[in-house]
Symmetry: C2
Subunit: 325 residues, 2 copies
């Protein structure tokens, strides 16, 4: 009877169907016994017993895989694979699958919600009210905004779709691949990231954490932006340098920021001191609908694997490439 460790939590709640499916397939499972985001060290301690892993964004390194002598499959609940040493997994005959399409709509909705919050500073007002400060600030509206989207992949394209429904003054999009069908549908303008940095009123990042994206936004880039720019990161923590963001916001530059992803999670850094920074604990894909879809897809992959069927969503070759550089 294969044994599977489920590290990502919550899992099977509120939708218990994936757990039922594992039981029906006679797969034994353990849900994260630490009941918090699992660390590399935690994993090393317990992974040896397991044949499969239903994983979140925790680091699954060479060290983890060296101990995991039974491990044959990692099914990521989500899209990013930067936490998995993919090439080392391949060398050790550990299959890795993921759920690349499921999170898009949920991350896009979080992103659009962040735009609304930042435009009217509702997150800041909520903090101030609770400190007894009734301070009405004058916000802005979508119709006046130049919005810049960095990355038009699975998530970015969903964000673009929603913005084009809501409407804005101008939409600039940066991507290596120019998807002209998407452009024709939504009527935006392709732009370099430098143009977006200097011209946009709202900038949102939707790129994977590959070599290029890491540290894409540091002090110089932040200072090149408009003084009242609103910036959003729902992609990966390393894209915007957190210390530089703190320093630049502390100095009065940047109108507002919404950050859902961090270099080290749980985040405990200095951005907490900036009232106009909206902070959330990596909840991009945390919607009932999206979680249910991702948990189901990852569970189905695990079951397919142990029933010796072909995987539906193995991580594609292109995802392996950037880590080789």
């Amino acid at each position: 009877m294969p044994k599977v460790l489920i590290t990502t939590i919550p899992f099977g709640n509120p939708e218990p169907k994936p757990l039922k499916m594992l039981e029906d397939a006679e797969i034994e499972y353990t849900i994260n016994p630490y009941n918090r985001k699992i660390t590399e060290k935690d994993l090393i301690e317990i992974i040896a017993n397991y044949d499969g892993l239903i994983a979140g964004t925790e680091r699954i390194s060479k060290n983890v895989m060296d101990i995991a002598s039974n491990l044959k499959i990692i099914a990521r609940v989500g899209v990013g694979t930067d936490n998995v040493d993919l090439n080392y997994a391949k060398d050790n005959n550990i299959m890795v699958s993921y759920t690349p399409d499921a999170p898009g709509p949920a991350i896009a909705e979080l992103t659009i919600g962040f735009m609304y919050s930042l435009l009217r500073s509702t997150h800041t007002a909520n903090l101030l009210m609770r400190r007894g400060k009734w301070q009405r600030s004058i916000g802005r509206s979508f119709s006046e905004m130049t919005i810049g989207i960095i990355g038009a992949g699975r998530v970015g394209s969903k964000v673009i779709e929603l913005i084009s429904k809501i409407g804005c003054s101008k939409l600039l999009v940066c991507d290596i691949h120019h998807n002209e069908i998407l452009r024709d549908q939504h009527g935006f303008e392709w732009a370099t990231k430098e143009k977006i940095f200097t011209e946009a009123d709202i900038i949102s990042f939707h790129v994977p954490l590959t070599g290029d994206a890491k540290g894409m936004v540091k002090r110089d880039q932040l200072l090149s932006m408009k003084k009242d720019v609103l910036i959003i990161n729902t992609a990966r923590g390393g894209i915007i340098d957190e210390d530089d963001l703190y320093e630049v916001m502390k100095s009065g530059h940047i109108g507002g920021a919404a950050i859902d992803v961090f270099d080290q999670e749980p985040y405990e850094g200095s951005l907490m001191d900036i009232d106009r920074c909206l902070l959330t604990p990596h909840i991009g894909s945390a919607s009932r609908e999206c979680r249910a879809k991702m948990e189901m897809e990852a569970t189905e992959e695990i079951i397919r694997f142990f029933q010796c069927k072909e995987l539906l969503s193995p991580v594609t070759e292109t995802e392996y490439l950037p880590q080789k550089q």
Copy 2:
């Protein structure tokens, strides 16, 4: 030279054009000398000197008008007139004008932003993060929601318009007047408020504070709603009983609330103790675009009045009626 008191603040900032227009029309003005929301008592102290009033939502009562022997015109920057004793103004030959169409888009955007925040609990997450709690809650998405809109007037219809662009599972609308053109455009279903209370996942209020609306939502109505319902009030403070809302939320009922308007403003009440309550200081119309439009329209009314021209937006007869009851 006519003298005008401007009580609503900020005014002429960031857009100084209305002040310039008053100067050009040789109208002397004073901007709220208290630099906070003005009270009835403040007004009584200073109003005697003024011929005109560019007003916010402060109470303009019989007592104020009795002192205001020179007052001939009140130009409300905004749409609600529940703060003005309209019939007493009429009896004393004080004209009242307002800017009924300007706030709609800005209030609608705030409302939709509130829906996004409540759906993902980003306001709560932001509070918890700052207390060192990394707690991922599972949110919901628009596509799963039954949304109920109470009031389909100038603001409600703008909210309906935005929701129909974004998409939801089902849209229920309650209004005395059934605007079938609006219904045909956006494909919602007319419903009683009782049906909305019991069936909707999100409920948003967009009614004026007339006799019917005051205390529309008390303990019984709140308890008749779904346990995880999300409720939004960007209309007027008296519509939802604040103490009842606190008690019911404290007991665990109601998934989240976003409240922009209060019985007594500035608000200092017990809802501050409820983390899943998003509180903002009456900023519905506080967007650059909307404020500029409202300030301009109110200023133009004042100028028209002192130049003995006909007013463009006198408060209509129908607004006077409810107060007579």
